[in-house]
């Protein structure tokens, strides 16, 4: 039996007195695409950030590719990882943000090459060649010397995807990658993501694009109030939701 890529068991997370995640359990197998939907403030971004070691969880267990997030287990004791180890784990997980967050002082190609050179220690020339190939893959080969401010939102987001792929991640996280885009630019970004899914990448995608979820996702998860209310295949969950809360939400967005 293959190990799951992501296994979350009863994950809790609070900010001060505000409990944001109240026992999230989710399993994502390698090569699977999981779409997460849910109302604003339900904890979707927080969950993704936990998976990427950007937040520490307060209770429960969360492991990626068989490794605990933020902790090392020896016997039945847990040891908190040091910053360097956390960074190494993060380097294997790609993340794409709603607002792209491209490095403003670097060209498209420099954005893609920066981390492979500095974090993985790959030779500049090799990183450059890989970077150009990735920019070609997202259809932006001719924009390699453009700065982010000279690119449209859709182009920036595609560069951001190439930047994450440059680390050869085993898992890709997308946090509402198309929510900040003009409607006519959404298609290009979704096409790149669809291609990525077809190539066998394991993905967790927080999105409001129900069309994308229906066509690409293996599993759709509905989150509300810090818990997963319902999970299932797209046809089950989107067409015949069991829970009233899911039906309510889908009624609003569809």
């Amino acid at each position: 039996m293959t190990e799951p890529m992501v296994r979350a068991e009863q994950v809790h997370k609070r900010f001060g007195r505000l409990a944001v995640l109240k026992g999230v359990s989710l399993t994502v197998m390698p090569g699977e695409v999981t779409c997460v939907i849910g109302p604003s403030g339900s904890g979707k971004s927080t969950f993704l950030r936990c998976v990427n070691h950007l937040e520490k969880i307060d209770a429960g267990r969360l492991s990626v590719d068989g490794q605990l997030v933020g902790y090392r287990q020896e016997g039945d004791k847990l040891y908190e990882l040091r910053e360097r180890e956390v960074a190494r784990n993060r380097a294997e997980i790609g993340m794409v943000f709603q607002h792209f967050n491209l490095f403003g002082h670097m060209t498209a190609l420099q954005n893609v090459c920066a981390a492979p050179v500095q974090v993985l220690g790959i030779a500049r020339q090799e990183a450059r060649e890989h970077g150009i190939e990735l920019l070609r893959r997202v259809g932006l080969e001719d924009k390699r010397d453009a700065y982010p401010s000279q690119l449209s939102g859709g182009q920036q987001q595609r560069v951001a995807i190439a930047r994450a792929l440059a680390m050869r991640p085993k898992l890709m996280l997308f946090d509402e990658p198309t929510s900040a885009l003009d409607p006519e630019l959404v298609g290009d970004v979704l096409a790149v993501m669809r291609g990525l899914a077809e190539s066998g990448m394991t993905m967790i995608v927080v999105t409001h694009e129900m069309g994308f979820a229906r066509e690409v996702a293996d599993t759709v998860v509905f989150m509300d109030g810090g818990v997963i209310v319902e999970a299932g295949t797209p046809s089950e969950l989107l067409a015949n939701p069991r829970e009233a809360r899911t039906r309510d939400f889908l009624g609003k967005v569809l």
Partner: protein
């Protein structure tokens, strides 16, 4: 308005008490030029120390470790809260406080290195310590403001790519903070250039002190002060131009296209870049 300007220029030029001929005599006097070099050295060295210290203190101040952040806060409080003149005098008289400076294991451990304070803390070293350490406190606040001006998303993106906190600072945040840091730093440099004149109180022969030494001999006070002022103005002008080009350099990526430099604008007007298209049909028939 123009008349007023003309009248004041006339009074400055024609008033014999300005003694413009004396100004001319001393403008390139060796002692003045030596003072000028020392002023430049002090400015560059103190600013360099201030910038390095400032970056260090700013990064410390933003550290999640309260002890580290607190140490930086204390330093800034201490050095910003006392006049730089007092600090200069203090460093100058440090020999009275610690006649011997030694580096070794404290509380009676072995001594690695020991030196008479009077010979180590020359007036130049005292000046550098006073100016540099004080500047560090001001630069820390400038750098901190620059770091805070960079969007939080940049930190997150860098972290998600596996960069450590220091890598993120050095490669991603500080380069983008430069746009905010440079204008006030230019200001600080120009201000430092002039603050070095305070060092004359601890008998360091920088530009102003050199001028003072000369007029103490010949009583040509006003012309020598004018000589010093001319040099301060000249250096400030050079610094201002340097700042302009630095800002352009670090502004890349923030605007869609860089604005032209004044020189580029000038050459575009004087020498059109492209060959003129065929001229309009001649109107000679009229």
């Amino acid at each position: 308005m123009l008349l007023l300007v003309a009248v004041s220029i006339d009074s400055i030029v024609s008033n014999p008490r300005f003694e413009w001929d004396v100004v001319g005599d001393y403008l390139f006097d060796d002692r003045i030029l030596d003072g000028l070099v020392l002023t430049l050295e002090l400015t560059v060295a103190a600013m360099a120390a201030g910038i390095v210290l400032g970056v260090l203190l700013a990064v410390m101040r933003l550290s999640p470790n309260p002890l580290v952040a607190g140490a930086s806060g204390f330093y800034i409080w201490l050095f910003r809260g006392t006049p730089v003149l007092v600090q200069l005098l203090f460093w100058n008289f440090i020999a009275a406080l610690y006649p011997e400076i030694s580096i070794g294991v404290p509380f009676g451990g072995p001594e690695f290195f020991s030196i008479q304070a009077n010979s180590a803390i020359t007036p130049f070293v005292a000046a550098l310590l006073g100016l540099g350490l004080n500047e560090g406190a001001y630069m820390a606040e400038i750098v901190r403001a620059g770091i805070l001006s960079v969007d939080e998303g940049q930190h997150q993106a860098a972290h998600s790519l596996g960069m450590s906190r220091l890598q993120t600072m050095r490669r991603i945040v500080l380069p983008q903070a430069m746009r905010v840091i440079i204008p006030p730093t230019g200001n600080e440099t120009i201000s430092m250039l002039k603050t070095t004149s305070l060092v004359s109180v601890i008998a360091t022969a920088e530009l102003l002190y050199a001028a003072q030494l000369i007029y103490a001999e010949n009583y040509r006070t006003i012309p020598l002060l004018i000589v010093a002022s001319i040099w301060y103005l000249a250096l400030t002008t050079v610094l201002t131009i340097g700042q302009y080009y630095l800002e352009r350099h670090f502004g890349r990526g923030s605007a869609r296209e860089l604005p032209l430099t004044p020189w580029q604008r000038f050459t575009r007007i004087v020498v059109p870049r492209h060959a003129e298209p065929a001229t309009e049909p001649e109107a000679s028939g009229r």
